[in-house]
């Protein structure tokens, strides 16, 4: 994967590239992504993968943290329900993460910037098309600056 540095100055330029942080479970989605690579599938390089043991390991605060650090989109991907390597990790994730997304949405953080998916180790193709799709969406949504850039109290009317 090629990586291009994206700076604030470039964000309006033609070479702006969304920054997508992906939390992948080790056993399914990470392996699926690996398979995509081994299958020499093309998919956008905007995605940056954090490998975790399980989607159940994804603390919702990682998502917030990623946005805080300037991610334009966050993806959490795990095993399909029933397939969890740890038997129920993805079931826990399936309760917490969507609830967290609701909370973010309620507070005005665009829930479209937070994706959740199930990709199995065999779904290399699903992985590449998923990444292509969400990257496309990230482009459409544009850079997400409201949250990371709000450290200084703004004067509001």
């Amino acid at each position: 994967m090629t990586e291009k540095k994206t700076t604030a100055a470039q964000r309006d330029g033609t070479d702006w590239q969304p920054r997508i942080v992906a939390f992948l479970c080790n056993w399914c989605s990470y392996a699926g992504a690996d398979l995509a690579g081994m299958s020499r599938n093309d998919y956008p390089a905007a995605i940056k993968i954090v490998r975790l043991p399980c989607s159940g390991r994804v603390d919702p605060m990682f998502v917030l943290k990623s946005f805080e650090r300037g991610a334009d989109m966050v993806l959490v991907s795990g095993c399909h329900p029933g397939d969890c390597h740890y038997s129920s990790g993805n079931y826990h994730a399936r309760r917490k993460l969507p609830a967290f997304r609701e909370l973010l949405g309620f507070m005005g953080i665009d829930p479209r910037r937070f994706k959740i998916s199930w990709v199995s180790a065999a779904e290399g193709n699903k992985w590449s098309s998923l990444v292509a799709d969400i990257t496309e969406e990230a482009y459409a949504l544009g850079p997400f600056q409201e949250f990371p850039k709000c450290t200084a109290p703004e004067k509001t009317g």
């Binding site: 309620f106 005005g108 709000c150």
Partner: protein, 294 residues
């Protein structure tokens, strides 16, 4: 602290029986202390009263000013050091006690619950009272007061504020909360008053890694309140103390109500109705909703 309870002349029948029950429990050694409400000059709401003698129990009151949730004292070591705790609880307070029981913060035998049936406090009634599902605290050691007709909780009202917020666009919401959170001074009064914020070390105080930026700028304030709301998801019993004590009047209850509503909607769960319930984030079901998952 100067207690004024004894000065109050005409005690209501509920108060009489409350004082009697508390004095009796203290006298026969059932409890080391009864925590209830008293009147303190200068305060328009009832203040906590720690009765350690039968005489002190005479100062206990129960009226519309008894807004506060006294369950906050239960986990505190200094309170526990006084011996078995007698606690005066309204139905809403009992829900907090139930969560504490379910989270093993206290054990049932450590507390002596004096339940008081309550139709609602304050005039006009607080939001929490209009949506309260537990006017009649059950499972207490003693339950006092006339039975209160259990009004059906007004769901539409409960969700009205949330719905109002959700009707707004993302940008409007963002602007709303940005305005609110900007006010936050990170005094953590919301945390201090919450009966369920009993952590020995709050996540904000964990620095490796630094989960929440501690400086009171908007991003940190937002993060703190997101964390707070999420840590209370599936747990918050809606006592409203956080919002009540917020010095800058951030509508914190709105966030809690949003999440409580979500839990009820997704998992048919209301927190604190029983001490042996299973919190929604500690369990799962293969048929849980799959909405919004790719």
């Amino acid at each position: 602290m100067h207690r004024t309870g004894e000065n109050r002349m005409n005690a209501t029948p509920v108060e009489e029986s409350l004082r009697e029950a508390a004095a009796g429990a203290i006298a026969d050694g059932t409890v080391g202390v009864v925590i209830g409400y008293g009147h303190e000059a200068g305060s328009d709401v009832a203040t906590p009263l720690f009765a350690r003698t039968p005489e002190q129990a005479r100062g206990l009151v129960f009226d519309a000013t008894c807004v506060g949730n006294l369950a906050i004292y239960l986990p505190k070591p200094e309170v526990r050091a006084l011996g078995r705790t007698g606690l005066v609880v309204k139905g809403c307070d009992l829900r907090a006690v139930n969560v504490l029981l379910r989270e093993h913060v206290i054990e049932r035998e450590d507390v002596f619950l004096i339940g008081v049936r309550c139709a609602g406090v304050c005039e006009p009634p607080l939001h929490k009272c209009t949506v309260c599902p537990v006017h009649d605290p059950s499972g207490c050691d003693v339950t006092l007061g006339d039975s209160v007709e259990q009004p059906t909780a007004d769901a539409s009202r409960a969700n009205a504020l949330v719905a109002e917020m959700e009707a707004k666009s993302i940008e409007e919401r963002w602007e709303f909360w940005k305005r609110q959170m900007t006010k936050c001074v990170r005094c953590y009064a919301c945390r201090q008053v919450c009966p369920l914020c009993y952590c020995k070390r709050c996540i904000v105080e964990k620095t490796t890694p630094q989960w929440v930026e501690t400086s009171p700028h908007l991003r940190g304030n937002l993060a703190w309140n997101v964390v707070r709301a999420f840590h209370l998801t599936g747990r918050c019993v809606g006592c409203g103390e956080c919002e009540r004590v917020c010095p800058v009047d951030i509508p914190l209850g709105l966030l809690n109500q949003k999440m409580a509503g979500l839990m009820e909607q997704w998992f048919d769960f209301q927190s604190g109705l029983a001490p042996d319930e299973q919190a929604p984030f500690t369990t799962w079901d293969p048929n849980d909703p799959e909405e919004g998952i790719l």
